[in-house]
């Protein structure tokens, strides 16, 4: 489990450095793969069986295969688009991620001193905050979607640790929602490409006041 946390933190930091959209999607998939491994690990420690393995299988199917697949497909259509600005905020988001990691450990030490999953809680706080910062600091629509999924993964990981997942029905519903959310966002992004000739969200600033 410790190795998983180390890999996870590494992947999240990589996520903040990447500007290439395809690499960002691969990074997202590997991040979800680590979460799926954590699910399987937890399921095995509960004695296996379909019920215990279902969250892991769903994570694998939805977050590792379907969502990156859909976004990958979308990225494939985004050739020769109008380029607005380069990702100048990369350094800011990496620095923010470093701060969030320190913050995460500080919160854990303050709120739950000496708890078992200290590193995992810190990692999930890192993921939640980094997801938020990706959505706020970056302008490309795809990177914002990646940030949203990172945020969701972080909350999912926290839930996995604190309560060993939600009740099964609720968990299924959450997966369904994430799935539909990505479908809706992919539809919107491809529409955005048609209307604005770019997926840079900074061109959308007409609605004010």
């Amino acid at each position: 489990m410790d190795y998983l946390v180390v890999f996870l933190v590494l992947v999240v930091f990589l996520q903040t450095r990447i500007t290439n959209l395809r690499r960002a999607v691969i990074c997202l998939a590997s991040q979800s793969l680590i979460i799926a491994c954590a699910c399987f690990w937890l399921g095995l420690s509960h004695g296996g069986g379909l019920h215990a393995m279902l969250p892991g299988l769903l994570t694998l199917a939805v977050k590792v295969i379907f969502i990156p697949g859909a976004v990958w497909h979308l990225v494939g259509k985004l050739t020769n688009e109008r380029e607005i600005l380069s990702e100048s905020n990369v350094n800011y988001s990496t620095m923010a991620a470093a701060l969030f990691l320190v913050l995460g450990y500080a919160i854990v030490e303050r709120l739950l001193p000496g708890s078992v999953g200290r590193d995992i809680i810190a990692a999930s706080i890192l993921m939640i905050m980094t997801g938020l910062s990706l959505m706020v600091l970056r302008k490309r629509a795809i990177i914002q979607i990646v940030g949203l999924i990172t945020l969701e993964n972080g909350i999912y990981l926290l839930g996995l640790l604190m309560t060993e997942g939600l009740p099964l029905v609720v968990e299924l519903g959450v997966f369904l929602d994430v799935l539909i959310a990505v479908v809706v966002l992919v539809i919107l992004t491809s529409r955005m490409r048609l209307s604005f000739m770019t997926t840079d969200t900074s061109v959308m600033k007409k609605l004010k006041g």
Partner: protein
């Protein structure tokens, strides 16, 4: 025929989704589609009427996944009324929007099927929100409403509607994710303090609230408040609300403003009932009052400088949501009852206002209020409904909003927050001046821009008149209508933490 409560609930929960799937196939002709749409909504409304009249408030209905008490039935009543109004006004609206000459959707063929599929699905999910018994499933349903309504907000796929939808999905999903974190924390509280039986079941939790760790409960409540508060449109998190409400098709704006945001308040109330005994009234009351007043205060300046007619209505919705949340935070029976009544009145009046605003936009070919004049002479019928709705939403006597606003303000004084009550009155006065200034300019004066003539037909006039009249009669004669009065009193008791 005799239906039991469970039959009626299954009728209410099955019909919209069946119609939605049928119309999604896009195989029906336009006329069949319009009539099936009306038929579905009317059947659901009839079932709802039977449910409201036969429901015994002292014996809530519950099974494995559903739970219905007075509060849920009250919410069903609000959503169901809007559903009926939606079904009977949608044909007129879609005919105008797909009109060959000037309609906005004329370039696309056969969009009615998609519009109906999404709208009925949207209403169906809201029915699910108020009938499920599980806090986790409530979260799932609220998130699903965001996603379905996002496709409705973006329905015209113009540049501005895409912008509004992107903001809507991003802001609301982040907010709702925080609410998921809050829900996970509630589950954690349940596992550590109560036990693993009946996970996240609302009734079970509400009956076993003793001995919850207050610090953890406070932590969970903060996340839930921020999360669902985003969906309600409370002030610092309201960025999506004016955009989504103004860019959506008029019918969708009405549903968004009238029923979606109060569904979020409903889920917040359900969570508050569980966490209230351990956190204490002061903390929750303080948060609700502060954010409620702040929301109203944030809306007032934007109304004064507004030019877009639907954006003005969106800010007026924000004002009303702020008032509702503040009323919730007072924790006196009068205010709780008035808040629920206000949800009802606001939904009915705001739906008719958004519909009228959509008509005005088509009659004058603009949504800039500065370019619309002389409505009284050019489009008298639209002007009449516009005036009645505006007078209503501002809280002037003939329409029901007057009563509910009055009782909420009265609640401020009852709960011994007189200064906050006076502040709220001043803010509402600012709102009234801002909106009336714009609306009166639209009414009178010389028309500089020729309108395309009166577009209000017979059916939609009748529906709108019915909505306004229902709001009047239900609130003014509340104590005379035993069914509604009973329902409302019990719902208010549930809001204040009385569980049966």
């Amino acid at each position: 025929m005799n239906f039991s409560i469970s039959d009626l609930i299954y009728i209410i929960l099955l019909l919209p989704v069946i119609f939605s799937l049928v119309s999604a196939t896009n195989m029906l002709s336009r006329n069949v589609l319009h009539w099936l749409n009306r038929l579905t909504a009317t059947c659901v409304a009839a079932a709802l009427f039977l449910l409201v009249t036969s429901f015994d408030v002292n014996t809530p209905y519950g099974d494995e996944y559903l739970y219905l008490d007075a509060l849920s039935v009250w919410m069903l009543l609000i959503i169901g009324t809007l559903y009926l109004a939606f079904a009977w006004t949608s044909k007129a609206y879609l005919d105008r929007d797909t009109n060959k000459r000037y309609g906005y959707l004329r370039r696309f063929g056969r969009l009615e099927g998609r519009f109906y599929a999404l709208s009925h699905m949207f209403v169906w999910i809201m029915f699910v929100v108020v009938t499920v018994n599980n806090l986790g499933l409530m979260w799932v349903a609220i998130e699903a409403t965001t996603l379905v309504s996002a496709l409705l907000v973006a329905f015209k796929f113009t540049r501005t509607s895409l912008e509004a939808t992107w903001k809507y999905v991003m802001v609301c999903t982040v907010g709702i994710c925080l609410a998921l974190l809050g829900t996970i924390l509630v589950y954690y509280i349940q596992l550590t303090n109560i036990g693993p039986a009946n996970p996240l079941n609302w009734l079970y939790l509400a009956q076993h609230v003793d001995g919850i760790d207050p610090a953890m409960a406070k932590f969970a409540f903060c996340f839930l408040f921020v999360g669902y508060g985003t969906k309600v449109g409370l002030a610092p998190m309201h960025a999506w609300l004016p955009d989504a409400h103004s860019e959506a098709p008029a019918l969708t704006s009405g549903l968004l403003s009238g029923s979606l945001c109060i569904c979020a308040i409903y889920v917040l109330i359900r969570n508050i009932i569980i966490l209230l005994p351990s956190i204490g009234v002061d903390f929750i009351s303080g948060l609700c009052l502060f954010f409620g007043l702040f929301t109203v205060a944030a809306a007032v300046p934007f109304v004064l400088v507004q030019r877009d007619v639907k954006r003005m209505l969106a800010y007026s919705s924000m004002e009303n949501f702020g008032l509702m949340v503040a009323g919730l935070g007072l924790f006196v029976p009068m205010a709780a009852q008035a808040m629920l009544l206000h949800m009802f009145n606001h939904a009915l009046v705001k739906y008719s206002l958004f519909y009228t605003a959509g008509t005005i936009m088509e009659e004058f070919g603009t949504k800039n209020m500065m370019r619309i004049h002389g409505m009284m002479t050019q489009t008298p019928r639209t002007a009449l409904f516009w005036l009645l709705g505006i007078v209503g939403i501002l809280g002037m006597p003939p329409i029901g909003v007057f009563f509910s606003k009055f009782y909420i303000i009265f609640g401020f004084f009852q709960a011994e927050h007189p200064w906050l009550g006076i502040l709220m009155l001043l803010l509402l006065a600012g709102m009234l001046i801002g909106i009336l200034y714009h609306v009166m300019r639209m009414f009178g004066g010389q028309a500089k821009r020729k309108s395309s003539g009166e577009l209000f037909g017979f059916v939609d006039s009748a529906v709108l008149a019915g909505l306004l009249l229902f709001s009047c009669v239900a609130s003014a004669g509340l104590s005379e209508i035993a069914v509604l009065n009973n329902l409302l009193t019990h719902a208010a008791q549930i809001v204040l933490g009385g569980v049966y």
